[in-house]
């Protein structure tokens, strides 16, 4: 893939770099574009953006490109980029910051399914103190299916039900499905942590 040409916006660069550096705790300015991160990124080919490009977008001040690209959403948090970086830059942490910034700037997630999955995970964990596979998947699937329905994508709805149904049936057959609701006693403590997180 040939990377597109980035335009250097002098005025936009400084505040963007400072914000991402302070929120992610990563020193982007030490990146010398060796691209070891790009070589190891398992999703770079499909997203069209590798960690080095992402850092470059921030350094040249292109906020739109930096917060609204597929790598920010599809990153699998394998931490290969950060582990191999000679300057110890953890791009996965930058991704987390950019995702927050994208939310604050009211961009819609480019991959709503990934966003819905993580939100469903955090919702059940906040309510019960533990992640419940069935409850969480129910929230996530309902959201996903309604979104496809709203768009009139009946084939996509069908495919989704078939694929998750197949997994569910195989899991039930192999007795890997857990039907009880696992919850902790001291849920108020977990709720207090969630409340604190919201206020920060």
């Amino acid at each position: 893939m040939t990377p597109s040409i980035l335009k250097y916006e002098v005025a936009a660069s400084k505040p963007l770099v400072e914000e991402v550096m302070s929120r992610s705790g990563q020193n982007l300015q030490s990146c010398y574009q060796c691209r070891r991160c790009a070589a190891g990124c398992p999703v770079g080919e499909e997203t069209g953006v590798t960690p080095d490009r992402l850092i470059r977008m921030i350094l040249v001040g292109d906020k739109e490109a930096a917060i609204n690209n597929l790598l920010v959403w599809k990153c699998v948090a394998c931490y290969t980029c950060g582990t191999r970086c000679p300057n110890n830059i953890q791009t996965a942490r930058i991704n987390e910051t950019l995702k927050q910034m994208s939310k604050e700037a009211h961009y819609k997630p480019l991959t709503p399914r990934i966003a819905d999955f993580h939100n469903a995970f955090m919702t059940t964990t906040g309510q019960l103190g533990r992640f419940n596979e069935i409850e969480s998947m129910a929230i996530y699937e309902t959201k996903t299916l309604f979104k496809e329905l709203a768009k009139g994508h009946l084939k996509a709805m069908f495919d989704e039900m078939m694929s998750q149904g197949k997994l569910g049936a195989a899991m039930t057959k192999k007795k890997r499905m857990h039907f009880g609701f696992d919850r902790i006693k001291n849920r108020s403590e977990v709720k207090a942590l969630y409340k604190k997180a919201k206020g920060r």
Partner: protein
């Protein structure tokens, strides 16, 4: 000897067999696993991707409970739980303000005293001391596992000293060799299976898994062995679908490391629930006269 134990949500649900196997195998090694009381979910990757504070605070509550037991070590078999808990402990050791803010909400405060260990960190000394080989009643001759570590056993989002080689870890191979099996050398042992992308970004995740299966089969492995319940679930449950899509004919059973140790110790495969795998896991053991 007693060690604190954090099973995590997977080991209480879809990977319950791993929980059972851990208790059985550690029991035979003279280690009693003391599950910490009223533990909560570590937040896994979802928290780290959505909320920095919760990604540290959720495991912190468990660390406080573990510290209060007075036990010196906690073993966490799930790679994701292990990674998140260790990151939380290291982060709180260097951020006093954050630690105070989280501790203010906790009944059992984080002290930072308990040593957080992966399952391999506990098993490795037992190999070196000869205890694992000593408890073995049969050699796993003919078993050629591809030891699959995935991401989170050796790679962390912050600076953490790794108790194994980052790019070519050997912890699982050392255990497998002590059992008399012949682990193969391969390229994808620390590659990502996609984790939760299997459910929310299937195409991407299945591409990653196809590379893992292709290399493992090409190198002559006859099974995969792992320590992570999510890696295990993915490469087991999706193997047939991915194999079909990417033209890979051979299917490899995907064992937990505890299963192989258990078989070598002569623990009943029915008790270890070896029949709960998606790709048949008992056939190969029978074929090799191991059960």
């Amino acid at each position: 000897m007693e060690i604190a134990y954090y099973p995590g949500c997977s080991l209480h649900a879809s990977s319950e067999l791993y929980d059972i196997q851990c208790k059985l195998v550690f029991g035979k090694l003279g280690i009693e696993l003391k599950e910490i009381e009223d533990w909560n979910c570590c937040g896994a990757t979802a928290a780290s991707k959505t909320n920095e504070f919760l990604s540290i605070a959720l495991p912190a509550r468990n660390l406080g409970i573990a510290d209060a037991t007075g036990l010196s070590e906690i073993v966490i078999p799930c790679s994701s739980c292990y990674s998140r808990t260790l990151v939380s402990q290291k982060k709180l050791a260097t951020d006093a303000a954050l630690k105070a803010s989280i501790n203010a909400e906790l009944g059992k405060k984080v002290q930072g005293t308990v040593k957080v260990s992966s399952i391999l960190e506990v098993l490795r000394p037992k190999v070196i001391s000869g205890e694992i080989a000593g408890k073995a009643v049969k050699k796993l001759t003919g078993l050629k596992p591809a030891c699959y570590y995935g991401c989170l056993m050796t790679r962390f989002p912050i600076d953490i000293e790794v108790p194994d080689n980052v790019e070519n870890p050997q912890g699982m191979e050392i255990v497998c060799k002590a059992l008399g099996s012949e682990p193969i050398d391969w390229n994808y042992k620390t590659d990502c299976c996609g984790a939760s992308a299997a459910y929310n970004d299937a195409e991407q995740s299945q591409l990653l898994m196809s590379r893992i299966f292709k290399d493992a089969t090409a190198r002559g492995a006859n099974c995969i062995v792992t320590t992570c319940p999510l890696c295990q679930m993915n490469v087991d449950a999706y193997q047939d679908e991915v194999g079909g899509k990417y033209g890979i004919d051979k299917r490899l059973p995907v064992y937990f490391i505890t299963e192989l140790i258990g078989i070598s110790m002569g623990i009943d495969p029915v008790v270890m629930q070896v029949d709960r795998h998606f790709v048949d896991a008992t056939g190969l053991l029978k074929e090799l006269n191991l059960i």
